[in-house]
Structures are given as structure tokens and as C-alpha cells.
């Protein structure tokens, strides 16, 4: 029987496995995709330093190799069951049943499907992208001039905050907390690749909560002249030439506005992954009203869940940045270690 089974091979899962292995525990990682790194594989640069995301993946690939971690790729978890004597039985799509003394849920998040916000025109109008699409575009750029999906040099680009966040109508009442700073980062990046273009952000509130975030926001204003418009987008329509027409109220001017743009970027929020609901069913795991796993103690036990022996690392408990994820994954090692020492297994 293994000590810890880790579900998810993103940075949370890998970091948790590294820390647990360093404490002398036997770990196995189960990952549904064909590579490790999770969502980070789709990202170009990270806030607030513009560090390349692949650098972080390379670091974890090397750490994985050094420790010879056991990872099962292309493996889906079907159910987690806590059987008698506190042993977990985890059924996977490979017809392998893992038995472990503890489980770490590092199954992450999924991005909001922007098609659900039909009035914003994603997948209806060519020049409407999501923040994730833009990162992929940046990744493929390789020094080439930036073009819109309809192959034009953009003159006006808009970033729309809170798409699928703080929005009862899309079922997500909570703040995704990272989209604000991601929008600022992408707006700066956009100005770097298209210095002639006007870039604006439509926001409800700007939540620059982390170290270096406010500085980035100020840089976007001062150095890059990104325009910040306080108002939530209501709807988008397309002109005959493929440009977009936005309807927003500039709430500070207290006037409804029409804005023309060549390209629109929707800042999609983070949602609990579908698997979280699946795990919830199979082992009576408690989730919060935002559908993410509910930490057993919000302040001093955020790695623990209501099920003893079942722990979380990273965004399975809510939206989290890369550095918060890494820290949360490091702390889970201590929580698991303490649990295994005190349990009678």
C-alpha cells in the first residue's frame, strides 16, 4: 500500500510529490493528460515578472527526474472510496485500483466556457478571444508581428474583466481574483507587440491584491497608457468590416458608451473542475457554495478536508496564482506527514 496518492500532475501535484518524497513518504501521481504541468502548458508568461511559464515547467520536469517520481499519465480517476481502517481505494480508467493511506487532491480548476456568455460573441465573432486563447497566440508569436484572428494589425484592443466571475447569471458568484492582474499583464504585453494600438480594459473593480500587482497596474497606466474604463460590458455586435461594437456604461462619466474594437479579449474566470463534483460524490467530500472543495479550517487547516486522510493542494480549493499554488502544495506535505504519523496504519 502506498503512503500518498496524488491526483493531478500540475504544478500543485508535482510540488506536493517532491515535498512528500523528501519527507521519506512513498508517492504516486495520477495525471489525466499526456504530460505534467497542467494549465501552465498553455500559458506564455507569468505575472508579475513576465517570466516564461515553460521555465517553471522545465524546473518541475527536472525535479521529477531527479527524484524519479512515479507518475501515471493518461489516467483518469473514476472514484475515491474510503474503506474500513481509513484506507483509500482509488479506481482509475486503467483498470488499476490504487490502495493508499492518504490522498492529495491536486486536480486543479477549469476555465469558464465563454460561449455560455453568448452576448459577448465568443465563437460567434472571429475577433473575440479568451485570455487563454491570447496566451496561446503569444506563445506562437516568436517575434512575428501580431495579427488579429482575421489577419489584421489591430488598432484598438479591449480586455473584458469578470467573464464568468462575480456573475450570478453564469452561476459563478465569486471573484476569480487572478483575471484582473492577468488582464493588466496581457494589456502590457499587447502594447509591447503592438505599440501603435490603443488598449483598454473594462472592469468592475480592479483587485491588485498581490505583491507587484499594483506596480504593474501603475506601469500599465504610466508607461503603456492602457485605458481603464469602469463599467461592465453588456453586449457585443459585429460591424460589416469584422470590427466589433461594444456597449458599456462608463460609470465614472455616468454615460452609456459605444466602443469600437478590432479585437476583444474575454478574461475568463476559474471554475471548480468537473472532477471535483465526481470526487465529492464518491467520498462525501464537502464543497463550498462556489463548488470548489471546502477547506476544513479556512485559516489554519486549508489543506485538510472534511474527510480525514483526504487533502488538497492548489486550485482544487479555489482560484490561486502559481506562487500560492506552490506554497499550498508545500504545506500539504507537512499536513499529510503529521496525519500519517498520528494514524494507526
Amino acid at each position: 500500500m502506498i503512503d500518498v496518492l496524488i491526483i493531478g500532475g500540475g504544478i500543485a501535484g508535482i510540488q506536493a510529490a517532491c515535498s512528500l518524497q523528501d519527507l521519506g513518504l512513498e508517492t504516486v501521481i495520477v495525471e489525466k493528460e499526456k504530460t505534467i504541468g497542467g494549465h501552465l502548458n498553455d500559458w506564455d508568461t507569468l505575472f508579475p515578472t513576465f517570466r516564461s511559464a515553460s521555465e517553471v515547467i522545465d524546473y518541475y520536469t527536472e525535479e521529477t527526474r531527479k527524484r524519479a517520481l512515479t507518475i501515471y499519465l493518461n489516467t483518469n480517476v473514476i472514484s475515491i472510496k474510503k474503506v474500513d481502517e481509513g484506507v483509500f481505494e482509488v479506481q482509475t480508467s486503467r483498470d488499476v485500483l490504487f490502495r493508499s493511506k492518504s490522498v492529495v487532491l491536486a486536480s486543479g480548476y477549469q476555465l469558464f466556457n465563454a460561449e455560455r456568455k453568448e452576448e459577448y460573441g465568443y465563437k460567434i465573432y472571429d475577433n473575440v478571444l479568451t485570455s487563454a486563447d491570447l496566451e496561446k497566440k503569444f506563445r506562437r508569436l516568436n517575434g512575428q508581428p501580431f495579427k488579429t484572428p482575421t489577419d489584421k494589425t489591430p488598432k484598438r484592443i479591449g480586455f473584458i474583466h469578470c467573464v464568468g466571475s462575480r456573475d450570478e447569471k453564469s452561476g459563478n458568484h465569486y471573484c476569480s481574483k487572478l483575471c484582473c492582474v492577468t488582464a493588466v499583464k496581457q494589456a502590457i504585453h499587447m502594447k509591447q507587440v503592438c505599440p501603435e494600438a490603443d488598449v483598454f480594459c473594462c472592469y468592475m473593480d480592479l483587485r491588485m491584491y498581490g505583491p507587484g500587482f499594483e506596480e504593474m497596474y501603475r506601469e500599465a497606466q504610466e508607461k503603456y497608457h492602457v485605458q481603464f474604463i469602469r463599467g461592465r460590458l453588456s453586449e457585443v455586435s459585429e460591424n460589416s468590416d469584422g470590427t466589433l461594437q461594444l456597449k458599456v456604461e462608463d460609470t465614472l462619466a455616468a454615460r452609456p458608451c459605444r466602443i469600437q474594437a478590432d479585437m476583444l479579449v474575454l478574461m475568463v474566470g476559474m471554475e471548480a473542475s468537473k472532477n471535483t463534483a465526481l470526487f465529492k460524490q464518491s467520498c462525501n467530500l464537502e464543497c463550498a457554495s462556489n463548488r470548489f472543495v471546502k477547506p476544513n479550517d479556512h485559516h489554519i487547516g486549508s489543506n485538510q478536508t472534511n474527510v480525514p486522510g483526504l487533502f488538497t493542494a492548489g486550485t482544487s480549493i479555489g482560484p490561486m496564482s502559481v506562487f500560492d499554488t506552490v506554497n499550498h502544495a508545500k504545506s500539504v506535505a507537512f499536513a499529510v506527514n503529521e496525519y500519517l504519523k498520528n494514524s494507526e496504519l
Binding site: 462575480r166 456573475d167 450570478e168 447569471k169 473593480d205 463599467g231 460590458l233 456604461e249 455616468a254
Partner: protein, 115 residues
């Protein structure tokens, strides 16, 4: 009062301890969701009446919160009750009911426009 030959203007400062809360109190009592407004302005951006007139429902709700009721009557009559704001509100506020309550409240408290 003695005429000094010049006039002073009334203070523009909002005194939060002296706000006329009759109308806002009535609305919140009957439509508590109105408490959740973020002032994001999506109601105003989508507003059919706001596209044709200077009607601004978000600004109006702020004025009501501040008890500045001098021009509410004429303004609220510009609303066509189309309900697009209801579909749009990210906080799920029943905006149409809010407007109906404003109209009712103006009658109940006999609030009329002032010049």
C-alpha cells in the same frame, strides 16, 4: 434676513447623517436584492430608454440612496419596463421590481419633482 448684497450657494456636501431614507428604505424592504448593487453599469449600458434619452438607471439608484429625490419622478417615467436590465444584472437584482417600487414609493410618500 438682512440683505448683504450677495448670495451664498447651498453646500454640495452630502451629509450622511441627514439622508432622506424614506424611498430607499421602502425599496429595500420590498426588494432586498437591491442591496447587492455593484454599480457596474451593465443595466445602463443595455437600457433601451438610455440609448434614446438621458435616462440613467444606475445614477438614479445612487441618487435615491443619497435621498436626492428632486428629479426622480420625471426621470423614472422614461423607463419603458422592457426588462433587459433584469436579464443583464450580474448580481441577480430584480431591477424591474425596483423600478415599480420607486414609482409606488413616490406616490406613497407623495414625493414630487422640485424645480
Amino acid at each position: 434676513m438682512r440683505n448683504f448684497g450677495f448670495a451664498t450657494t447651498k453646500s454640495r456636501t452630502v451629509d450622511y447623517s441627514k439622508i432622506d431614507t424614506r424611498l430607499i428604505g421602502y425599496i429595500l424592504e420590498n426588494e432586498p436584492t437591491f442591496n447587492a448593487c455593484l454599480s457596474c453599469g451593465s443595466c445602463t449600458a443595455i437600457c433601451s430608454a438610455g440609448n434614446l434619452t438621458n435616462f440613467n438607471i444606475r445614477k438614479l439608484s445612487l441618487l435615491i440612496r443619497l435621498g436626492e429625490l428632486e428629479k426622480i419622478h420625471t426621470e423614472i417615467d422614461k423607463c419603458m419596463l422592457c426588462g433587459k436590465c433584469l436579464l443583464e444584472c450580474p448580481r441577480g437584482i430584480n431591477t424591474r421590481n425596483v423600478i415599480m417600487l420607486i414609482k409606488k414609493g413616490l406616490t406613497i410618500f407623495d414625493i414630487k419633482d422640485q424645480e
